[in-house]
């Protein structure tokens, strides 16, 4: 039963069944044709499913059982910070005064939300060491683009129109160059050195009068702290460029080092990672951006301000890059992040980072005898290992990932960063217990042994999931992207 195909909701549809209870039709009705010319009316109904309420609940419950979340089991997906999603956050986000308010209401009737947003900005300013924060961007990528647009506006305001290039390390996530490109920049790659850090000599080579910014994740995607950050900041600033901090890995440095103190001019955060807004199966997230003083005029509109008469949205920002999103950001996610920060406080956040880093180093050291460790030094909140050794035995990193599924674990991020062969990027987070880490480690050791002794067990994995490996080539070659009635 559990391995059978699950019908699409359309396939269990039966004419005449309903799953809704619309409000009473209590107003006198007029012939529709009198209100809307017939040429505007559909000739064919939208074929949405016709099912009862129980049908719907069973369908989605069955689907949920085919989905692995953090609540289902360990989820060490590197750079995604799959930590526990506190339930109180969900409760707070659903309070009617937060969930059911309209963004365009009179400001006097939304002071509670504005106060929460303002206070969240204050907390984030302190955590990042920046001068101001906007909560507008909807996600990390959106924050990157917003931040880069501000950097662009800053240079343009200085008459510095030739700064068209953004420097990005080869270990960076693909979003960085994509965001730079959408913001109208050209990207230049700076190489990593043998220690997994940005190659300073190469940075000196690529930096110049055309440099708009250097985008950096610190710790980087290898989980390593860019210890030359001060020198890098000096090089970029001396050339007239700005320093952009990708906050994907902020969980590694809470209360230990602040981007603002490291010399960064613009920072984006991923509240759905570091600050427990749930990942939701791929979103919604929230990607606030923090800036230093000289970028203040360019913040997207509106800017939330505190006055003697309460909070207000300031739209009069002549140098602003403009609006990046309708309304005021993903408020519902910001409420969750705020609840988390208020739950943890300064000591809690410090402990979060310490435990995340300790967990990662512990796993790295325990796995080191069995997998190649390309960078043998303390990691931060995540680390990479390489499946090079196993590849020689005919077992690829993809196979190892699939084998992990048989044990109820979500695999690490694989084949990323691109500069490590057969890469596995592991981020345990601080919310996992030593027992969970140990059981994952033991399974990884077992898989390493299987690669030597019974490689086919790994190569043919997974063995226990509802479905086996799927044909992705077929999916891309002959795309079927929607249900169509046979």
């Amino acid at each position: 039963m559990h391995n059978q195909e699950l019908p699409l909701i359309f396939e269990i549809s039966k004419e005449g069944r309903i799953g809704y209870s619309l409000p009473e039709k209590d107003v006198p009705e007029v012939e529709l044709a009198e209100l809307i010319p017939s040429e505007y009316i559909r000739t064919e109904d939208a074929a949405l499913p016709e099912v009862s309420e129980l049908d719907i609940m069973r369908h989605y419950t069955a689907l949920s059982k085919r989905n692995h979340g953090v609540d289902s089991g360990f989820y060490p997906l590197g750079s995604c910070t799959m930590k526990y999603n506190p339930k109180v956050n969900e409760v707070v986000a659903r309070i009617p005064g937060f969930a059911h308010i309209h963004p365009l209401q009179d400001e006097r009737t939304i002071q509670g939300s504005m106060e929460l947003m303002y206070d969240l900005q204050q907390q984030l300013k302190e955590i990042t060491g920046m001068d101001e924060v906007t909560l507008q961007p909807a996600a990390g990528a959106h924050g990157e683009w917003t931040g880069l647009m501000m950097i662009r506006a800053y240079h343009e305001a200085n008459g510095d129109t030739l700064r068209t290039k953004v420097i990005i390390p080869d270990s960076a996530h693909g979003t960085n160059p994509a965001s730079a490109s959408v913001a109208g920049f050209e990207t230049i790659t700076v190489k990593s050195n043998e220690f997994g850090l940005v190659d300073i000599d190469d940075l000196k080579k690529v930096v110049g009068p055309d440099t708009a910014a250097l985008m950096l994740t610190n710790p980087n995607t290898l989980g390593l702290f860019e210890e030359n950050i001060v020198e890098m900041a000096e090089i970029v600033h001396a050339a007239g460029g700005k320093l952009y901090y990708d906050g994907a890995n902020l969980n590694a440095v809470l209360s230990k080092a602040r981007p603002g103190d490291m010399g960064f001019d613009v920072v984006h955060l991923n509240l759905h990672k570091t600050f427990t807004g749930p990942h939701g199966g791929g979103g919604p997230g929230s990607g606030p951006v923090g800036v230093k003083k000289d970028l203040l005029p360019f913040l997207p509109t509106p800017v939330l301000t505190k006055t003697d008469n309460g909070y207000t949205f300031d739209y009069n920002r002549p140098q602003s890059i403009g609006r990046v999103k309708p309304f005021y950001g993903n408020f519902g996610i910001n409420v969750r992040a705020y609840t988390y920060i208020r739950t943890m406080g300064p000591d809690g956040l410090k402990q979060v980072t310490e435990n995340a880093v300790l967990n990662a180093n512990y796993m790295m050291r325990r796995l080191a005898p069995f997998y190649d460790l390309p960078y043998d030094r303390h990691c931060k909140h995540e680390f990479v290992i390489s499946g090079r050794r196993q590849k020689k035995l005919g077992v690829r990193t993809l196979d190892i990932a699939k084998r992990l599924l048989d044990f109820g674990f979500h695999p690490p991020t694989i084949y990323f960063p691109l500069n490590v062969e057969e890469c596995m990027m592991i981020e345990p987070t601080e919310t996992e217990s030593k027992e969970t880490l140990d059981s994952f480690i033991n399974v990884m050791i077992q898989i390493a042994k299987e690669a030597e002794e019974t490689p086919e067990v790994v190569q043919e994995a997974p063995h226990t999931t509802v479905i086996k490996r799927l044909d992705e080539t077929q999916a891309a070659r002959k795309p079927i992207l929607r249900y169509q009635k046979a």
Partner: protein, 448 residues
């Protein structure tokens, strides 16, 4: 100090430090240069217990006037609709909300199938061939449509109707700036896109024309008349639409639209002070490989069993880097799920019934206001919104209504300076006759 989300005990810590071969956690941070080390204590608010925090935040929320306690006639892009209870029941399944992007299809079939169904439903409503797995919201989806059109046509000008949501227009502008795309406004005439003006503005340098359906004033644009004017110049026709209206209106796909975007917020998603909502993005087959964002496709496993995967990823940022069609990584999966559940609950009959109820109730309010002597401005065919002119300043009326427990419609002067004393009234299926009567009564009382 201990925290309920942090399971590490002192003993765990000791054992782990031993295994690593260090004596303190501090040593693990030795790679952070002293000059940038944060050695203080963060000056943020102290931790609070669950009970105390809930109490504080519940009180904070009380400073807001929520639309469950007040009667709202405010729409303008965010709507108060029927949310079936089952939506939150499904959304609360933490297998969905604590998962991430379905990178491992074998253990993510639930999410993947749900999104595949979402894509299918959006195609049904919009009349388009392909829909993606969702975007941040209607505004950014529309902006991405502008970028797609510019890339596809290799042209750098986008025309946007003045009747498109003003905040959406601003977002399109900002995105355009990044790509050096000029965004030019088409004026409105009687609250509809001015077709004569559009015809004059059209030429072969126009990448796309953007209209909204129904438009910001609630009126239903004639897509049929617009289409040939746009396609004559091989420009793309982009329609931002309200998906509830598409339950009854001819879908843009049937009227020649190339890209249809919008926000699925009306389907089971709370207003939540403007976000998170759920953008949707649908295109013709021709543009399938240019669509931004995640796409879920059907395929089969080694045993021939049907399954779903993320597909056509060669378009995306993690593969294409600076050559990607968009920088979007995520989608609004959880809200797409909410919308799917709501669309499923409504189903084929309910969506139509709901759309008609919006038209009927809004019309009832419109007629009552007319009887009270109000001028209904732009009195063309409309969906669930219309514009009413008031004698007194909107602010005063809104204050008066608020005292009666009513949230007024949108003050159009906020974005259209020439429309002072104009209110954009929204009446959805959720407003009762009694509420509408009271609203009109209070409006009338103030009008006299």
């Amino acid at each position: 100090m201990t925290f309920r989300y942090l399971p590490m005990t002192e003993q765990d810590k000791k054992e782990m430090l031993d295994a690593i071969g260090v004596t303190s956690v501090e040593e693990l941070f030795s790679d952070i240069p002293e000059s940038v080390r944060f050695n203080g204590r963060l000056q943020i608010k102290e931790a609070k217990s669950e009970t105390a925090l809930l109490k504080e935040l519940t009180n904070l929320a009380k400073k807001n006037a929520d639309v469950k306690s007040y009667t709202s006639f405010l729409g303008a892009g965010v709507y108060d609709h029927y949310i079936p209870s089952i939506v939150d029941a499904v959304l609360s399944r933490s297998e969905f909300y604590t998962a991430y992007t379905p990178y491992q299809p074998e253990i993510s079939q639930g999410e993947l199938q749900a999104i595949f169904e979402f894509q299918s439903m959006i195609c049904e409503l919009t009349g388009m061939d392909v829909a993606n797995s969702s975007m941040y919201d209607g505004g950014t989806a529309l902006a991405e449509a502008g970028l797609l059109a510019a890339a596809q046509t290799k042209r750098k000008k986008v025309l946007i109707s003045e009747t498109v949501h003003p905040e959406y227009k601003q977002v399109v502008d900002t995105y355009g700036k990044g790509q050096g795309i000029e965004v030019i406004q088409i004026p409105h005439k009687n609250g509809m896109t001015d077709i004569t003006a559009l015809t004059e503005m059209m030429d072969d340098s126009i990448a796309a024309v953007i209209v909204q359906y129904p438009n910001f004033f609630g009126q239903i644009e004639s897509l049929k008349e617009l289409e040939p004017i746009i396609h004559e110049h091989k420009s793309l026709f982009i329609v931002s639409s309200n998906p509830v209206a598409l339950g009854i209106l001819t879908p843009p796909g049937a009227l020649g639209a190339d890209i249809v975007t919008g926000d699925a917020q009306p389907f089971g998603i709370p207003q939540s002070f403007g976000g998170p909502h759920c953008g949707f993005f649908a295109v013709t087959n021709k543009l399938m490989r240019k669509i931004p964002g995640r796409l879920v496709g059907q395929t089969s496993d080694e045993d021939g069993k049907r399954g779903f995967v993320l597909t056509l990823q060669a378009r995306e940022q993690h593969i294409r880097r600076d050559k990607a069609t968009s920088n979007i990584c995520s989608n609004q999966a959880l809200n797409a799920l909410a919308a799917s559940v709501a669309m499923t609950a409504l189903g084929k009959q309910g969506i139509k019934e709901m759309a008609i109820a919006n038209i009927q109730k809004a019309n009832y309010a419109k007629q009552l206001l007319k009887q009270k002597g109000f001028e209904i401005v732009f009195d063309g065919p409309s969906f669930n919104e219309f514009v009413v002119k008031t004698k007194q300043p909107m602010k005063e009326i809104a204050n008066h209504l608020l005292e009666q427990g009513i949230i007024a419609g949108f003050d159009l002067q906020r974005v259209y300076p020439e429309l002072n004393n104009h209110m954009l009234v929204c009446v959805t299926e959720i407003r009762t006759k009694e509420e509408i009567d009271q609203f009109v009564e209070e409006m009338g009382a103030y009008h006299a």
